[in-house]
């Protein structure tokens, strides 16, 4: 992967954001800034509690930053109207899948298309079937989430986010709730997406994905970005001692 094209405008511009919880007692993000460019695949790693999820959730405003600004695709996320507009452009995949248990796989994928994008039933089902084919489980269209495996559920969750035709996809530890034999099927879908040029921000310790697809790796600790470099640089010759310690722990 080539380095970020500096001539392009960033699709996500994060400027000096901070976020704390419990009345300032827990600092989750401490003055974080970074730019993400179209078609980049950014992998965020770091120890537990370092603020990776919080950063991701600030991008689509599931958490409101205490200070700083985030601009997504040129739209500043401040007032409520902009938030819903931006959320349509930003798909999110959760560690716990968060499929809607009372709806079938098909309905899970179609619902938001119909109530948010105002598509007809026929249009939305066509898109849903396409996406189910893409993630490899067209035969599960009429199953309920509790009737399919974890790997299949996560692939449905990816399809559900893609159905909104987002420009950016956020993944928060998409494989860490999965049994080892199911990780590959989800990672394969993500690799496909990266190859198709989707802008992706991925919180994951899945090193296979990071090596194969990442254009940049961000290492976070204590709510700050400690290191931000290419995979080769970060894996082979990390600049910071903290990065070295952390990589030593997860790579053995």
């Amino acid at each position: 992967m080539e380095s970020p094209a500096s001539d392009k405008r960033p699709i996500i511009a994060i400027r000096n954001i901070s976020k704390s919880f419990e009345h300032g007692r827990v600092v989750a993000l401490d003055n974080v800034s970074t730019d993400i460019y179209p078609s980049e695949v950014v992998v965020i790693i770091g120890p537990s509690g370092s603020g990776k999820s919080t950063l991701l959730r600030c991008i689509n405003h599931l958490e409101t930053p205490d200070a700083g600004t985030i601009e997504v695709d040129g739209v500043l996320m401040t007032d409520a109207a902009n938030i819903n507009k931006v959320r349509m452009e930003v798909g999110m995949v959760f560690q716990q899948f968060n499929l809607f248990p009372h709806l079938t796989v098909m309905e899970n994928i179609c619902l938001a298309q119909r109530v948010v994008r105002k598509r007809t039933l026929a249009e939305s089902s066509e898109i849903a079937l396409d996406l189910l084919n893409k993630v490899g489980i067209p035969e599960k269209a009429d199953a309920y989430p509790n009737q399919i495996s974890g790997g299949q559920q996560q692939r449905v969750a990816i399809a559900r986010a893609l159905a909104m035709q987002p420009k950016i996809m956020l993944f928060d530890e998409p494989t860490s709730a999965l049994d080892p034999e199911m990780i590959k099927e989800v990672v394969d879908v993500m690799l496909d997406l990266a190859r198709d040029g989707m802008t992706m921000v991925v919180v994951s310790h899945e090193m296979g994905f990071a090596r194969n697809a990442a254009s940049r790796i961000i290492f976070m600790d204590d709510g700050q970005i400690i290191e931000d470099s290419s995979p080769q640089q970060l894996f082979n010759d990390p600049k910071e001692q903290r990065t070295r310690d952390f990589l030593g722990k997860i790579l053995h």
């Binding site: 819903n84 959320r87 999110m92 716990q96 809607f100 969750a157």
Partner: protein, 481 residues
Amino acid sequence: MGYQAGMIGTQLSNAQKRDWRLVVLAVGVALVLLGYLLPMYPNYITGAQTTYSDNSTVSLSFPTLINRQLYTQTTPPKDAETTAVSIQVGPARYLWGSGFGWLFQALNTNNLEQVASFVTCLLIPLLALIPAAWVLGRAWASPNGLCARSISAAFSVAFFAPAAMLCSWLHQIDFSGLLLALNRPYLLPSLGFWVALAGSILLVVALYGLHRELECQAFTWWALVAAVAIVAWLLVKTKPQPYLEIWQYIEDGIWVTLRIVVISFIFILIVSLLGGLGRVSKSPVIYGIASLYVELLRGIPLMVQLLFIWFALPQLFDALGGLVLRLYGLVDWEFLSSAGVKLQELRLSPFTAAVTGLTICYGAYVSEIFRAGISSIHRGQMEAARSLGMTYMQAMRYIILPQAVRVILPPVGNEFVMLLKDSSLVSVLAVSDLTRRGREYMARTFLSFETWILVALCYLVLTLFASRVVEYIEARTTFES
């Protein structure tokens, strides 16, 4: 259990087909049928002659098949007392007075109305035979085995069969003729009665054994409702004096009660949906208002709330109207004067007051149920919906509430049954509901026992029925999760 369980199929081997319970069941069915063919009540009371202390006599012949307490109701002449009552007995006409014979004769009389309770008693053992035969037929014919549902149905009916047989005899000899009958052998039931009684007891034993085996419900819900309804109906039929009269008096009260309960419940659902949403709202104002409502009203007894609305609210309207009129004196706006007068004269009708009181009070309880239901849904569901671009309200409407309904429904159903019972309190507001009609009747006649027995049975039928409807709806909305 119940319908969720549906059919519990148990494989029967050939050895099990000769299971003692099935054999006993078959014998029971045969004995009941045989008993109804043999003479059951060969003689019956055709009339009575009452002798008074002044040697005058009054003779009555009973035109109907079943006698009533007619001979006790003849009034003795002045200054005379009843010295003797002699009962006249005649032979039964059809099929030597067998069970089927009596049924045939009863159905042929032109005042079926009067013999209806006797017919009911005679029919119950026969009704029990239908599901019992179904159980037997399935056990013998198909290898699929036993159907739990038909066993509980058969048991529910058969359970009442022996008692129904005894009741039919009481009808034959009449309650007050019991002592007479006991020392007059010709009034005793004969062979057919005892055979059918034995048969129906065998049915109960066999079906009880089978139901234990399958661990199915002993009583189906409709059997309970039917039993209570039949008891109430028999009271009305066998002792029209006073039960029929009470029934006619309180009947319209049932409709008033139902109307109040159903209308209040609709409002309660609306109020508590808003209350529940308010209690999970992030806006401190909305949350504050909802919490104030819930905490305040849950702490005041329903009775006090009703009395407040009925007696204190008009005063409040009066004072408010006065205030508006005073304001009119200051600013001289025309519409204020008419509004002030209207407010001063505003009175809630008893019905509106009752519905308002029940809605406000129960709205607070049910709001809490809604809140608990909504917050029981994992927050990841809301986040997933929001991340797809849905608004808060869309996420509530399509994602959170449909899932919360399944949590909310059982306790809300219970609240409905509670509401049905608590609605009796609105009788203090001059609403002619079931309870108030009972009180009015009792005040007129002083027949307290009879009145309240019948009122209680009416409520019992309503609540039993309502709780089963609730259970049915619950079963329809459960899903695998």
